[in-house]
Structures are given as C-alpha cells and as structure tokens.
C-alpha cells in the first residue's frame, strides 16, 4: 500500500496554485547544476534545466549515459548539494541529508569499526529509536533484507552483496517515506545483482515506499521501476519520461522478462539512452 503523501504542514499561499490534488513527494523545478567556475577554471554545467515531480508510491528510475548528471540529481534530492539554480523540494521542504530520505550509495559505505548489527543500530539511534527497542528493530531490519543471522559479524566477514543488503537495511532504519538509491548494484557481480534486484522489487512492492533509483542499466530500469526517466548527455535533460505499467506482484522475474511489454519497454528506453548519449 502506498503511504499517503505528506500534507503541507505550513501552507504557503504563494505555492497554493502549484498544489494539485496530492502534493508530490519530490518536486524538481527548473533545476540546473554547475560545477567549478572558480578562479581560472571553466565551469561545467552537469545538469539541467530539469523539472520533475515524483508522486507518493512511485518507483522512479533515472537512466542515462555516464556523466549525464543523474547522480548529481540524486545528490540534490538527498540534500548533499544545493542546486546552482532552480528549486528542489522533498515533502515540501528544502532537502537535508538524513531528514527526509533513506540513502543507499553505490558502495555500501558501512562503518568497519562497527558490527553489522551496530551499523543498523546506529541509524536507529540517530533516528531517535530508544535504546531498548534497537536490538529488536535491528533484527527485524536485517531479516527483511535476508541477513537474519549476521548481526554480530564484522563488515569484512560478509560478502559485497551482503554488505549492500546491510546498507539497504541501514537506509530503511530511519523509517523514511522516501528511498534514494545511487547505482547500488553496479559494483556487484551479475548473479548477486539479479538476486538483489528481485528482493528490492518485492520489498518495494510490499511497502510502496517512494523511491528514486539511479542506474545506467536499461534492464534494471524496466525491471525495477514504475516509471523511467532518461536523461540526455551533459548537461542532463529529460529525454524520455515513461511509465512502466508492468505487474508489481505475482509475476516471477523470468515470467516478467518474458512479457512482450517488457521487451517493448526495453527497446524504447534503450533507444532513448543511445540517442541521449550522442
């Protein structure tokens, strides 16, 4: 069940005309982002202008050639960077890391000085979960990502795929209604990647958490998303914005990939990405 969108706590009269029947979780308006431009350096426009609205419950996949600014866009939504121009709002607020969204990076970025369980526990602590509840919640979260018996392990004692699962559990720990994932499976081997894709698809369909997922894989976009946005090469602009109307539950991965619609979407998005790279 998709969770209900956040109702604006402090209605701003200036923004009222923009509000439709339900406010989007993420809204990106005329955003441009430029790097560099300091003394003696030429500035590079990495992104934009881009406008996007992501309603609650959507699983949006951002695809594009490398250097198209898709990761930049995700970092703007996460609040790690401020847009050079334009506006990014998440739940109607200016994004701030750790306050609106759970974030999964390309590398697991776990803390090696903590055990698997303590990595998740720290996220619970910073999310304000009382100490007494943390152990139970940690166990629940680890079970949800398929790592029920690894809580006491050291980070270097588990595989790269397992580390990324822990990173997902850590991102879920905050109980945020938005999940941002930056090529989380790109560094994994093909088998592990497929398994994690299937698991993420299932968890996502069950929880209906609004998600933004960055990848350069067309197949991943069709397989995971409910909507795909293709960004063009630098500076990244929206080249294609297409809903993925595939069944979210009750269809196995092989069956899903065998559907004619799946192949058609793959072809269409693939063509758009190739065109965008030119």
């Amino acid at each position: 069940m998709p969770s209900l969108p956040d109702t604006d706590k402090a209605p701003d009269t200036a923004k009222v005309p923009r509000q439709r029947h339900s406010a989007p979780v993420v809204s990106v308006r005329d955003v441009e982002h430029t790097y560099g431009g300091g003394r003696g350096t030429e500035s590079v426009t990495a992104l934009g202008p881009v406008s996007l609205e992501i309603p609650a419950g959507e699983f949006l996949v951002l695809v594009g050639p490398s250097g198209c600014g898709k990761s930049t866009l995700l970092r703007l939504i996460a609040g790690f960077e401020r847009a050079s121009s334009g506006e990014v709002e998440v739940f109607g607020e200016q994004p701030e890391p750790g306050s609106q969204a759970g974030i999964v990076f390309q590398q697991p970025r776990l803390f090696p000085w903590r055990t698997v369980g303590d990595n998740v526990g720290l996220a619970l602590k910073y999310a304000g979960v009382p100490r007494a509840e943390r152990a139970g919640r940690t166990a629940e979260l680890l079970e949800r990502v398929g790592l029920a018996d690894t809580s006491g392990r050291r980070i270097w004692q588990i595989s790269g795929g397992q580390q990324q699962r822990v990173a997902i559990a850590r991102a879920l720990a905050g109980g945020k209604r938005l999940l941002l994932l930056d090529e989380p499976f790109a560094a994994l081997d093909a088998l592990t990647r497929e398994r994690l894709q299937e698991d993420l698809r299932t968890v996502s369909a069950e929880t209906g958490t609004t998600s933004v997922f960055v990848t350069h894989s067309v197949d991943e976009a069709v397989f995971l998303g409910t909507r795909t946005v293709v960004l063009s090469a630098r500076p990244g602009r929206v080249a294609l914005d297409i809903p993925i109307g595939l069944p979210r539950t009750g269809t196995g991965p092989d069956e899903l990939r065998g559907l004619p619609e799946y192949a058609a979407l793959r072809a269409e998005i693939g063509t758009a990405v190739r065109d965008a790279a030119r």
């Binding site: 890391p97 270097w156 795929g161 905050g174």
Partner: protein
C-alpha cells in the same frame, strides 16, 4: 514482510590464515637468536683479545655481575645508590607514562581541534611544527629555570616532547576523514558532533595510535636527557651517575634495560592498536 530469497551469497573467506607464515616466523626468530649469539661471541672475543681496556669495554660477564649487584643487596648496599635496577627502571617508566601520557592527551585535543576547525589549524600548525623541531634537551634548561630540578621539569619535558607527534598525526587523520563515510553518517541523520564521534575519530584511530607510538619513542629517548639533572633514582640518572665513576658495565646495563623495556612497550602498543582497530588489516 518476509524476505524472498535465502542468502546464498557466501561470506568472504577469512583472510588466508597465518598457517603458512608460521614456519617462516620461527625461522626468523631463530635467525635473530643466532645473530644475537654471534654478537655476544664477538663481544667476548674482543675481551679475550684484550683489544681495549676493560674500563672502556667491560666483558659480558662484568655486565652480568652488574645486573646481579644492582638487583639485590650486596655488602649492605642495596642495588645502585639505594635502589635496585628494576626500581630505577620503574621510576623512569612512571615518569614516561605520566609525562608522555599527559602529552598524548594534549596532542589528541590539539589534533582534533586542528583537524576539525581550519582556523585553529592555521593558528597552531606553525607552533606545533616549531616545537617538533626543537630537541627536547634544548628547552629542558628553560624548564629547570621555571620548575626547579625535581619531578616537575622532567614530566613537563616528556609531555612537551610527546605532544607534537600525536597532534600532527591526529590533525592529519581527522582532516582526511573519508568523505564517503561522513556522507553515510549524515545520511542516517548524524549531526556535526555525531559525525565526529561516529566516523571521524574511529577512522582516525589507527593513525592516532601510530602517533602515540612515535610519542612514546620520543619520550623514551628524552627520559635519559631529563634525568641528567637530579635523575637519581631513575634509569637515566643511573647511567649518568655510573658514567662519572667510569663504571662502563653499569652504563651498558642501563642501556640494555632502556632498550629492552622500550621494545616491549612498543610491541605492547602495536598489539593494542591491532586490538583497537582490527579493521585496518581488512581495508
């Protein structure tokens, strides 16, 4: 909410155990023992050939006798100047631990401030670098004028000598905290202070511990200098005092005592840093 698949991903195999290294390790220990024996034999040979006067180069036996004499009571004289060798060493070690310990703590505080606040770094970096270049003996004279000739100037000397290496190591480690992990901490809602405690300090720990080892090494080499003034009891005082009476056997004994205890402390610190930062070997 069940998890769809069982976890079939295999854990990374434990880093190839030390089994194959074991033989090599014992061979190394054996080789070192042989080298030590050869050295002792050469020493004895020098004595037998009477190349130098025994006053300049005492025999191994004379040093051994000095060890026995300074370790107990002989002819109503207890140890050396009323204290046994172990007591002299213990007093020096105590000075090192208190003095260098204070210096390490000060270095940590200064280092963390330098590493996290750029303006503190700008202000303090030259001062710390200046202090680091000074030979401890150079400012010892000033410390004696200020604090007299008892314990205070010795502890201050060791503290001042131990501070800079820890401060420098801490500052550089703290300043170069991995951005990826800092972002990961911010992503789970860590505030400024929490980023320091959850990422910056733990990631800096291995480098800080190297700074601490360096600091203790410097404190060790400074303690003999510190004990040249009113250093008895103390191992440096013992060496200094024995020198005045040309007791080269006792001087050599003191050198061995300092060298061996120094090696033991460094080994201890190394074990401690492996314990405190086990992830370093798995990075």
């Amino acid at each position: 909410m069940t998890t769809p698949t069982s976890v079939r991903e295999r854990a990374v195999p434990a880093p190839a155990g030390r089994r194959p290294e074991r033989g090599a390790r014992w061979r190394r220990v054996g080789l070192r023992l042989v080298a030590l024996a050869v050295l002792l034999a050469l020493w004895q040979l020098v004595i037998v050939l009477q190349l130098w006067s025994p006053v300049l180069v005492p025999s191994p036996a004379a040093v051994w006798r000095a060890l026995l004499e300074t370790s107990g009571t002989h002819d109503g004289v207890r140890g050396y100047q009323g204290h046994t060798l172990i007591e002299h060493l213990g007093i020096s070690l105590r000075r090192i631990f208190i003095g260098a310990g204070a210096g390490v703590v000060a270095g940590l505080v200064v280092g963390v401030l330098m590493g996290t606040l750029p303006w503190v770094r700008v202000v303090l970096e030259p001062a710390v670098a200046f202090l680091r270049t000074l030979p401890p003996l150079a400012y010892f004279s000033l410390l004696i004028i200020w604090f007299g000739i008892d314990e205070a100037p010795k502890l201050w000397l060791l503290a001042i000598a131990a501070m800079p290496p820890v401060a420098v190591a801490t500052a550089s480690a703290v300043a170069s905290a991995p951005t990826a992990l800092v972002e990961a901490a911010r992503a789970i809602g860590a505030g400024r202070g929490q980023v320091v405690t959850s990422v910056v300090l733990p990631s800096a720990l291995p480098e800080i511990l190297i700074g601490v080892r360096l600091a203790f090494g410097i404190a060790y080499s400074s303690v003999v200098a510190a004990e040249t003034v009113n250093g008895l009891p103390g191992i440096g005082g013992l060496i200094r005092d024995a020198q005045r009476y040309n007791q080269s056997d006792t001087v050599i004994l003191g050198l061995f005592a300092i060298g061996i205890s120094g090696l033991l402390i460094d080994a201890g610190l190394r074990v401690l840093s492996d314990r405190l930062a086990p992830w370093r070997r798995h990075a």
